[in-house]
């Protein structure tokens, strides 16, 4: 129906506002907190009126955390860099391995392909802790514990199934005839993969990469167990704010703002791809 009564319009607006408030409130609250000192945050009753301060951010950036019990060294910027490096490298490796594999699973229905694909997906079902314990021991034995390579390897458990399953769907969505047409025109299968399949699955690959990046960025448990201080990402590094003299809410908030900023920016930038990518069937002649 294209005619909407004024009352309906008002109610609709109201409903949308409520939803937005519900989802945005924590982020806004955190954002506000990051400009306050611990005292103003813990003030009773709480107030939205306060004098903004940048001390939380300066503490994070300089790496010197002022607490009631004195100055504490933290490595937040290092953590941020670790997060960026680990996530990017994991996604890069994941795409390199996952996209050709997804093509194989999508196109060449070989014996057992369904089973293998499902096994890969099932990595996502098991509680990470179940895998972690034996993994830690192995890694210590072969010297991969507390190395970037080891972490990137373990991150494939998160990244690879995601990329594989999303991208596979995209490859399957490309009408097989389009690829046949290219081959019949005289091109090899590899050239067909490069010139037809890859570009047509492009939005899907971008979306899968983006999602995988966010998942990798948000990972906590693998890095907590397998990485020492100098290789920890922000998710683990934020634990440092739980100090002997209490939780540093201001710095935690600032840390959160800084750590969600990159994924947030990325998601905003790639929103179009994500929506386009997640609603399949983007390839139509």
């Amino acid at each position: 129906m294209d005619t909407v009564s004024p009352l309906e319009r008002v109610l609709r607006g109201l409903a949308i506002t409520v939803v937005i408030l519900f989802f945005m409130f924590p982020i806004v609250w955190i954002f506000l907190m990051s400009f306050q000192t611990n005292e103003t945050i813990l003030r009773v009753p709480p107030s939205v009126v306060f004098e903004p301060t940048l001390t939380n951010y300066t503490a994070l950036i300089t790496g010197k955390l002022e607490t009631a019990a004195g100055t504490l060294e933290i490595a937040f910027m290092r953590n941020l860099w670790n997060s960026l490096f680990l996530s990017t490298a994991s996604v890069a490796v994941g795409l390199l391995l996952g996209v050709p594999a997804a093509y194989a699973f999508g196109r060449l229905k070989f014996r057992g392909s369904e089973d293998i694909a499902f096994t890969l997906l099932s990595f996502r079902f098991a509680p990470p802790l179940l895998v972690l314990l034996p993994l830690t021991i192995y890694f210590q034995k072969i010297g991969l514990a507390d190395t970037y390579v080891g972490l990137i390897w373990v991150y494939q458990l998160i990244v690879l199934p995601l990329i594989l399953w999303i991208v596979r769907g995209y490859f399957e969505d490309i009408p097989a005839d389009i690829e046949y047409a290219y081959r019949i025109a005289g091109h090899s299968w590899f050239s067909t993969f490069r010139k037809i399949a890859l570009p047509l699955a492009g939005p899907g690959i971008a979306a899968a990469g983006l999602l995988a990046f966010i998942f990798a960025w948000n990972n906590f448990i693998f890095a907590l167990v397998l990485a020492s201080a100098d290789k920890q990402p922000v998710t683990v590094g934020a634990l440092a704010f739980v100090t002997a003299s209490g939780i540093q809410y201001g710095q935690v908030a600032a840390g959160i703002v800084l750590s969600i900023a990159p994924t947030f920016a990325l998601a905003l930038y790639a929103q179009r791809y994500l929506v386009e990518g997640l609603s399949l069937g983007a390839v139509k002649g």
């Binding site: 005839d177 047409a181 290219y182 019949i184 091109h187 299968w189 050239s191 002649g285």
Partner: protein
Amino acid sequence: MSLKLTDIVKRFKTETVLDGVSLSVGRGETLVLFGPSGAGKTVLLRLIAGVVDPDGGTIEIEGRDMDGVEPEDRGIGMAFQNFALFPHMDAMANIASPLTARRTGREAIAETVGKVARMLKIDHVLHHKPKELSNGQKQRTALARALAGAPQILLLDDPLRNVDAKLRFEMRLELPRLLRSQDATVIYVTQDYKEAMALGDRIAVMNGHGIQQIGTPEDIYLRPANIEIARLFGDPVINLLDVVPEAADGSGGVQVRLSDQPVALVGGYAGTVGTDCVLGLRPEAMRFVDPGTPGAIPVEVEAETPLNEKTVTLTLTQRGREIMVSRPSGMPGPDQGTAYVAVDAKDALLFDRATGQRIAPGAHSPALQEDVA
């Protein structure tokens, strides 16, 4: 023979789609693969193209066994029913794709593409992406892409299926000349019997896992191998009536009864007397006549449906059997109620009711055939 298939078998899981298909097509010939959906026409094309492998049998192109030969090495051009254009490339790049594969020079590509595009009247849209093309232009681009590489074998998978009626008609008239100019072996798949008859030098009728009849359009239309094929060709569909031929009084000929009126069968059907048969009468082989005309069959007029160049009347015989009669438009039709129909007995077809096979006149009575001769 330019293309030769021998005993091709293809199964999907447990279902047999093609069961022993053999076929040979000469250079410059257009063979139409015709049949209802699910008859395996498209699968057969894909086997020839090499994108699907047969479970048995051999495919030879210009005398060379194609077993293990990749699609890109078979010298084939193919147009798909759904066009299968590369959506991220413009029409030019689409058409040029068979040429880029051979590392043809840029100028030679431009020249060849230009020539093919002019022939198909799409030279003004070469820089458009497929989504900016109209359906007709897409179809022509797909055709141009199939032709651009000057293939020995041209496979056309129902290329006119997805274009509107007017364009389909124009292309139907245009295609034979276009195909002849290619000097290629053409396999053309269609579900439209008119397209099959208009385009095919020969038609292979596929039904139930294989080819049931191969012949010229004339063979297929006038001498269909069985009831199914007779039903597939002709619009409106051929009238099929259960009959038991009987000996005609005195003359020694054979007759059947419609609305209790005897209709003499021309030719030697003597051996069919007393057997269960099906009489096939094309709607255009009957005409309305004045009451009292000798041999006229009384029928009830049910509905008149004007088609384009003809009018079809649905009638009921006195025993309640439906018969469709068609006449060129412009000719006066019957009034409501009872009308009288005359049958051109020489156009009647007779089928064995048990097997569905056509009974060729004279097959049962060599003696009578001599008489006719």
